[in-house]
Each structure stands twice: as C-alpha cells, then as structure tokens.
C-alpha cells in the first residue's frame, strides 16, 4: 500500500514537472545584464503588473530571448523598444510617453505642488485676514459651545 502510494506520487511528480515547464526541454539562452535592463522597462503582456524581466510566463521568456537576439545583432536599446512598441503599442512600455494624454502624468508633480501650494497660500492669506479683523471678537464657535454647555448635559458617573 505504502509503496504503491509513493510510486503514484512519484508519477505525479514527474507529470507535474513536465506540465510545469513553460517551454520544451531545451536550455534557454544566456542573458547579459543589458537584456534584463531592457526587459525591465517592458510590460509582460499576459501578467498582472509584472515586467518582462520579472515574469516567468512563456511570453516574457520569449521577449527576453528576442531582446538578447536583437542585442547580438547590434541593435540599440531604443531600437529594441521601438520594435516592441510596433508590435504591442505604447502600452508595452512601463514608462508612458511624454506626449498626448500621458503628458499629464509627467506634469503631475508640478501640478500637485502647484495646487497644494496655491491652496496653502490662499489658506494662510485667509488666516491672516481673519486674524486682523476678528482678533478681539468672540467667535461663533465659542457662542455655539456656550449654548450647548448651558443645556447642562448629564455628566458621566
């Protein structure tokens, strides 16, 4: 019984290993650091939020292979990126192009700083104005609070 189950598990193991290999039993090519550097800027088309450098999905492995081949042909990084953009569109680039709708993303730090800075400036200007006019008045807030306190609530034990 025990032997049978081990044998069965062993068979399952081999089956699992065979199924799990993304590609047939040939060794993948060797990749230089440049391959991973370029792949890291490209999206893996079938994964969720992984770059072609990280993912082990078949298509990402294939992309790394293509990058390595093109590097060997002497193509530059920009040319290789252009090749993938031609195939998949701008979506394949993790760095959005600085034009059209994605220009706004690049402007977002300045936008955010501008908006917040302007808000802060307006706010402080208002504070200053109010500090000058109502410095000695009793504020509405205080009046409201006095009113509520005069209703003498039940104190806690």
């Amino acid at each position: 019984m025990r032997r049978a189950s081990t044998w069965w598990l062993g068979g399952l193991l081999l089956l699992a290993l065979a199924l799990a290999q993304p590609s047939p039993n040939t060794p993948p090519p060797d990749f230089s650091p440049e391959v991973f550097k370029i792949a890291g800027q490209l999206r893996c088309p079938v994964c969720q939020g992984e770059s072609a450098a990280e993912s082990n999905a078949g298509i990402a492995v294939e992309m790394r292979r293509i990058i390595a081949e093109q590097l060997a042909q002497g193509k530059s990084e920009a040319e290789i990126r252009a090749f993938f953009v031609q195939r998949y569109g701008d979506w394949i680039l993790y760095e959005p192009p600085v034009r059209g709708l994605t220009l706004w993303v690049w402007l977002s730090p300045l936008l955010g700083l501008g908006l917040l800075g302007f808000g802060l400036w307006r706010y402080l200007a208002r504070v200053r104005a109010r500090a000058l006019t109502t410095a000695s008045d009793v504020s509405e807030e205080e009046i409201a609070r006095l009113e509520t306190e005069l209703q003498s609530p039940e104190r806690q034990p």
Partner: protein, 663 residues
C-alpha cells in the same frame, strides 16, 4: 454546532450590535444623555466578542478541514502545514475583510475605554458612532456580499488549497496583519476629527489622537517594510518595490499619514493649520479604503488583485461616504475655524508645512499615476502603462526635497532663527557637499553621490541637535555628558524618537539609491559540474534532484559559490536553489536563495532544468548592493516609533498651546 453556523450567526450578531451601537451613540449625542454613551461603550466589547467568535470559527473550520464552509473549500487544503492553516484566514478576500472587521472592533473597544478619560460627553458619542458606522459597513459587506461561511452543499474531499505565494515565506503571516492594524488604526484619528467638527472643538483632538496616529503610522511602516521583504525574498525578481497598483495603494495612506503627523505638530504648538489637518486625516483614512477598493474590485490588475465582484462597488460607495462626511463637515465649519497667529516660514513650522506639501504632492502623483491608465482608457480607448520607470524618476526630485527638509526641520527653532541655527545649517551644507564629492570621487553616479551627501547632511543635523542639547545640559547642571544624554533621552522621548526615525529614513533613502542604481541581473545555463565565472564569483552547479514535501514538490539544484575578488565578497557557501511546484498552480514558483552581506546581496534563482536527464540547470544571478541595510533601516524606524510610544515613567507634559487657540 458547526463552525460554519457559529461563524455565520456571530457575524450577523456583530452587524446587529454595531448598528445598535451606532443608534445608541446617536441617541447619546442628540439627547445629551451619558447613559446611552455608557451602553454604547459596553456594546463595543460585545461586538469585539462577536467578531472574535466569528474569526475563531473560521480558524476552527480551517484547522478541522471543514470543507462544508465555502471559504475553507476554496482557500485551504487538508495537506497544508499547521502554520499555513493558521494564516489562511487572511489569504483571500472574505477572510481578510473579517480580520479587518475584527481589528476595527478591537480599536473601537479601546477608544471606548479611553473615551471616558479624554473625550467629553459631546464628542465621545460622535467618535464612537463614527467607528460603529465603519463597523456596520464591514459586517454588512460580509453578511451580504462576501460571506466567509457560505455552506457548500456537497463538501469536497479536499479544498482547492491556499495561494502558494502565501505559503512560501513566514512573512505572509505578519505582513497583512500589520497592514490592517495600520489601516484600521487610521480610523481612530478620523473618528476624533469627525467628532471635533461636529462638536466644534477644533484644537484638542490633535492632542488626543497623537498616540493613535503614531500607532497606526508605526504599523503601516512596519507593514510596508515587511511587504518589501516578502517581495524581495519570494517573488524572485530581485526587487522589493515594483510600484504595482497595490503597493501604491499602501503607500498613499502612509504618505498622507506622514504629512498629518507633521502638520499635527504645527497645530499642537501653534494652533495653526486646523482645517488642513481635518482634510489630511480624512484623506489618509479614505486612502486606506481606496487601497482596499483597488485590490478588491479588480479595476486595476496587479499581483495582489483578489477576486472581483460586487465588493468593489461597496467599497467605492464607502470611500465616497468617508470623503463626503469628512470634507463635507469641513466645508461646513471651515468658516469658523480660528487659527492662532501667523506662519513664520523661517522657523520649524515653515519646514513642517513645506514637508507636508511634498508628502501631499507625492501622494497626489501616486494616485494620479495609478489611476491614469484607467482615465486614458475611458477617454480615448487607448491602453497605456504607468509603471516603475516613471515612478522611480519622479520620486527622485521629490525625495531629495523631502530629505533636505528632514534635516532642516528639527534644526530650526519654533521661533525665529538665530545665529546658532545659521551655523548649524552651514555645517549641514558642508556635509552635503563633502558627501556628494566623496561619492563622485569614488566614481559613483551623481544620484548615488547625492544620496551619500544627503545621508551625511541628515546625520550631521541629528548629531548637532543631540550634541548641543547634551552640552547645554551637562554645563548647566554640572553633570557628565553621558548622564546628560541619558536624562535628555528619557525626558524628551518624542524628540529623540523622531531623531531615531529620521536616521532610519535617511539610511533607507541611501540604500534605495544604491540598490536601485546598481542592481545587476544575469542568467546562464550550466551543465552539472560546470563553473560560471562572473562579477567576482565562481558558481559551480553540483547536481540536480527532486524532493517531495507535504504541500508541494521541489526541484533542487545545489550550487557551490566562491568569491574570487573583492567584488564578490561575502558570497561564499553552498546554496540550494529550488523550484517549487504547488498542485494548484500551473507553473512553478522560483524561490530565490538570498545571501546577504555587508555590501552586496547575492540572489540565486533556479529558472529551469533538464527534466529528462538532469544534465543542466539555468541559474539567474542578481547582485544588489545594500538591501540588507534597508531592512535594518526599517527596523530602526519602527524602533524609533516604539521609543516615542513607550510609556514614560513620569509623564512629561509638553508645553500647551496658547489659550488663543480656541480650546
């Protein structure tokens, strides 16, 4: 009594009790009757017990392999090891919402305990009512759309198993819990803020929530660092931060909470900035819900995205509700909030406000960058990606400004600047210049050199602050410097704690600069016995084998590594690179072997192997400098936070705000 029944019943009980608590809080407020408040406080303990019972029932169902419970059938397996079963409750959507709700009830109960001491009878019901309302939402989500205890009509012999990514590292037991403790913790200052705006007391809530905010912030920080660690040690890509939508979702509340921590100090000392603090804490709490919405709705696909379904829509409504309550109240009361005095830009409050400006901007950029692909798709139908290369470039200038301000802030006094301060700033700028030039002289890139400069600059700032304080004290009291330091550290816990935290942040920035700039990845296929010489290393493939474990199979390729030059220093050893096969996954999981050293980290991943003859294996090598120091930095930041929070023997009263402040 089955676990499924017990869990379901206690969930409904928790929902009803939370709704009752909300009603009692409203009654206590509108009738101004302390007895209702007392009842609401007692109910908070009952809700906690009901939630704990429900959570316990889920654990019970998982541990007893009760596959008649849908959650267990879908996310657990009889063959899982005990520790995996223990952490399975937060391995998927329904269970993680239950954990969230459980922690929320615990926080509510704690607020109820403290409310008697710190909150008056006008605000306590509002704060408690807000927290009960949040609880109602979470329990309603579980009861109506994400029920963990749904019955399975024909229970399967075994469950579908747990997500293998969660079974690969013990950090998974820690990271989600810390994250939720942080997220839920932010609900407390938010509730106090709502109470402050309803009862129109705009100043004192900032003192009362000081500790709550810091507790939540500490948990968030710890969670983000443990998440990085998990990403680094498990996912096998050699990085710790991918700017994936869900990581972004966790950093947005952190950034806003950090901004709030700093602007809250301005309000404490000066009675300024009250309106902004209401806005910041509302947005910080809303950001936690936003993050959950992103992860649970499937709007944006990512590594973390859990099941989609109606849950996303519920969270969206809740998010809008939180924003409407916080910002709506603020709009109503903003005209009567009185600020004390004026901002002096050349003092500490100026630096704190500027810092908050940058944290706010950073949060804005992350929100926009995360959502922009959606916006573009809706507007033009085109698909774009906004990923790590963009965020990395944008964070550099923002990070530099924040590090500059981090040094300046503590050095500037609350009043106007004097000669000594100018001298200190000059010394810091010298450190910045020397550090940067040293980096350039060593042949490092400009960015990394600047990071060294900024590290030296912040170190100088901290050193000057501590040294000058110690010197003044030891002179005036005639005690040795060591004793003066000891006494100062004990009596100014907040100040010293913040120095520790700032040091941790400066170190983290340095390690991030190094590791992001100099990470190198290579891949090579080796025959058994072959040696690969690269980057000052000799890597020899020893053999290839397979092993069977209780919940997985593993293919193992042991390698022998020797360092041959200084570049590969500290990598020596024998390592078992492995591929793990989980029955419920189509493709294998490459679990890296990580070897930390004082400078470089070496990272070996088995990518592929010869499954017919066992002749060759493909090894990926990633060399990254200084990641180990990033974990040290995270630990320092958390320890600094703990130091501030640690109860003091004698309560040191900080100077109160001037009475003009309105309270």
């Amino acid at each position: 009594m089955t676990p499924g029944l017990l869990g379901g019943v206690s969930l409904v009980a928790a929902l009803i009790l939370s709704a009752l608590g909300l009603v009692l809080a409203v009654l206590a407020y509108s009738l101004r009757d302390g007895r209702y408040l007392e009842a609401a406080k007692r109910l908070s303990l009952l809700t906690l017990l009901a939630a704990a019972t429900s959570f316990g029932a889920l654990e019970w169902a998982i541990l007893t392999d009760d596959f008649s419970v849908s959650y267990v059938a879908n996310h657990s397996s009889a063959s899982n090891p005990l520790w995996v079963k223990l952490v399975t409750p937060w391995a998927a959507l329904e269970g993680s919402i239950l954990l969230w709700a459980l922690l929320q009830t615990a926080y509510t109960w704690l607020v109820g305990l403290r409310a008697g001491q710190s909150l008056d009878v006008w605000r306590a019901p509002v704060a408690l009512g807000t927290l009960f309302a949040v609880q109602v939402f979470f329990f309603a989500v579980m009861v109506f759309v994400a029920h963990p205890f749904d019955a399975v009509p024909n229970p399967p012999p075994d469950g579908l198993g747990t997500n293998p990514l969660l079974q690969n590292h013990w950090m998974m037991a820690v990271h989600p819990v810390l994250m939720y403790l942080g997220f839920v913790g932010l609900s407390v200052p938010f509730a106090y803020a709502v109470a402050a705006m309803v009862a129109r007391r705009y100043q004192s809530w900032i003192f009362e929530t000081r500790w709550w905010t810091l507790v939540a912030w500490g948990f968030l920080t710890a969670a983000i660092f443990t998440g990085k660690w998990w990403s680094y040690e498990i996912l096998g890509w050699g990085g710790y931060w991918a700017w994936d939508p869900v990581e972004n979702a966790s950093i947005i509340p952190w950034l806003l909470a950090t901004a709030f921590l700093h602007t809250a100090q301005v309000q404490e000392r000066k009675g300024l900035f009250k309106g902004w603090n209401f806005a910041f804490i509302t947005l910080a709490f809303a950001a936690t819900v936003f993050g959950t919405f992103l992860t649970r709705s499937g709007v944006i696909q990512s590594v973390h995205a859990f099941a989609s379904g109606p849950v996303g829509a519920w969270f969206l409504v809740f998010l809008l509700g939180v924003m409407a309550v916080g910002l709506g109240l603020l709009a109503r009361v903003s005209s009567e909030i009185r600020e004390a005095g004026e901002v002096r830009w050349k003092s500490r409050e100026g630096a704190l406000l500027a810092g908050a400006l940058f944290f706010g901007t950073f949060a804005f950029v992350v929100v926009l960058g995360t959502l922009w692909p959606l916006v573009v798709e809706v507007v033009s139908g085109a698909k774009v990606s906004v990923g790590a290369p963009f965020f990395n470039q944008v964070s550099v200038p923002l990070g530099i400004f924040m590090l500059l301000l981090m040094g300046i802030g503590p050095v500037l006094p609350w009043r106007n600047t004097q000669a000594e301060v100018v001298r200190n700033l000059a010394a810091m700028l010298v450190a910045l210049g020397v550090g940067t030039l040293l980096g350039l002289a060593l042949g490092l890139s400009l960015g990394v050199s600047l990071a060294i400069g900024l590290f030296a600059y912040n170190l100088t700032a901290i050193w000057l602050m501590v040294a000058q304080g110690v010197r003044a004290r030891s002179r005036s009291l005639g005690i040795p410097a060591g004793q003066a330091l000891w006494e100062l550290a004990a009596s100014h816990k907040r100040r010293f704690g913040s120095h520790i935290v700032h040091f941790g942040v400066a170190l983290a920035a340095l390690t991030i600069a190094f590791s992001q700039t100099y990470r190198v990845t290579e891949q090579k296929t080796l025959q058994v016995g072959e040696t690969w010489q690269t980057r000052g290393l000799e890597i020899r493939l020893l053999s290839i084998g397979a092993r069977e474990e209780s919940n997985r199979f593993a293919a193992i390729a042991p390698i022998e590594v020797r360092s041959t030059s200084r570049e590969g220093w500290g990598a020596d050893g024998r390592y078992e690179t492995r591929l793990n096969f989980y029955p419920q996954m189509g493709s294998p999981l490459a679990t890296p072997v990580v070897r930390y050293s004082l400078y470089n980290d070496y990272y070996f991943v088995l990518m592929q192997f010869d499954q017919e003859k066992g002749q060759w294996a493909t090894i990926k090598l990633i060399v990254t400098p200084m990641v180990w120091w990033l974990w040290v930095a995270g630990l320092i930041i958390v320890l600094g936070t703990l130091y501030i929070l640690w109860p003091a023997g004698a309560r040191v009263t900080s100077r109160q705000v001037s009475p003009v402040a309105g309270d």
